[in-house]
Symmetry: C2
Subunit: 208 residues, 2 copies
DNA sequence: GTCGTAAAATGACAGACTGTCACAAATTAT
DNA sequence: ATAATTTGTGACAGTCTGTCATTTTACGAC
């Protein structure tokens, strides 16, 4: 967490610094992030930076947390549009990512750049910032009647796997942007897997 | 990939170097791996190291690939024991990881250390080293009659999600080692989700 | 307006790290 | 024995990070 000093900073200076941070974060991989470059770009003296942030990790954590919050609210919108159907999330969110709707969301663009640079960046720990994996904001809009069990923990599990499916799709597309339609097909298969199960019908009876 | 020179190295020297590498890899996080420390531990001059490996990434890649191969063969053994039931994999593999059987597998110990240090290290890209996510070795021993569809691509998807469930379990246990039994329960729920689907029965009819 | 105290700014610095390169040593071929 | 090739080596240039003693600014009390 940044220092209180950071939040007391004059707006212009803080913006200058944050711009430089986001540029750095969306230009090089996590491992290569350089505070040297950031302070050079932002024209902020070295000592000042360390008055605002504890260290590099502190900075990165702060930026990603910001992004996570945005991301969750985006998923919430999508979920509302899907009438609370958790299983519809991967396909719809994927289309958002790919820019299916023509316009490009600035924050999402940053997110995708970061994912591209840090291939397979771990959505698990990205979302895991919150205590529960399934944030309150999303739990509120889930239609639990569509789920086999209606408790939050079960929804949490479904959401977990749902996120994994979304992550697979994003990563695959980044690795080969030409295969959008193929990835879309895979996502449908995976989603059906989550919905209806992957076991052959003959074996389904074991379950009671 | 290491240089041919590396493979021509006298065994004693190569072992000394590799030992130091594994020690480093299982002691600090990826980001903090220091070639300085490695060469100091192994008593290998700086210049020599760079005659064997292109750079730090080259080294890490080589070590992890080694581990991946071991890991795949372990999963194969488990899958055989499970009579090819892909859905049984997470629970069984998890018990192996936790050391349910009392003995500890040296390579697995290293693997767990690495996972602990790099919380949520991406199994996706770890396994993704191979062209197909589902390696031939595993495909050979899968009982496809248990799957809704029998083609390899479908098995690949199931395996993908299966790995995700395993990864969840491992990460959760590392975060809080006390909760083994709880994680085991979660793993069962997740596996059932993959087997039979998470949709409420009423909605299942949509599927044809 | 001046003095004093607390907050903020600053850049020089120590310590660490990486990858390179010119040259020495050893090994192999002729 | 000599030449050619491969391997070994450590000094070095260039970066980087986080700290800290010191200066500058902000601000309230008198």
């Amino acid at each position: 967490m940044p220092t209180t000093t950071f939040f007391r900073l004059p707006e212009e200076k803080r913006d200058r610094l944050m711009d430089a941070c986001w540029t750095e974060l969306t230009t090089v991989r996590f491992a290569d992030i350089s505070i040297n470059r950031i302070i050079a770009t932002a024209h902020i003296p070295r000592g000042s930076f360390y008055q605002y942030f504890e260290d590099k990790e502190d900075l990165i954590h702060f930026l990603l947390e910001d992004m996570r919050e945005y991301f969750v609210s985006l998923l919430r919108d999508i979920l509302v549009e899907a009438r609370g159907d958790l299983f519809a999330l991967p396909a719809m969110a994927y289309d958002h990512f790919i820019g299916h709707h023509g316009y490009t969301d600035p924050m999402l663009t940053l997110f995708i750049k970061i994912m591209t640079l840090n291939k397979g960046m771990d959505l698990q720990s990205f979302m895991g910032g919150s205590k529960h994996f399934l944030p309150d904001q999303l739990w509120e809009v889930i239609d639990t009647s569509r789920l086999r069990r209606q408790n939050r923990e079960y929804a949490n599990q479904v959401f977990h796997l749902t996120c994994a499916v979304l992550a697979f799709a994003v990563v695959e597309t980044l690795q080969d942007p030409a295969q959008v339609s193929q990835v879309r097909e895979l996502t449908k298969i995976r989603t059906d897997l989550l919905r209806y199960g992957g076991a052959a019908d003959g074996y389904e009876e074991e379950h009671t």
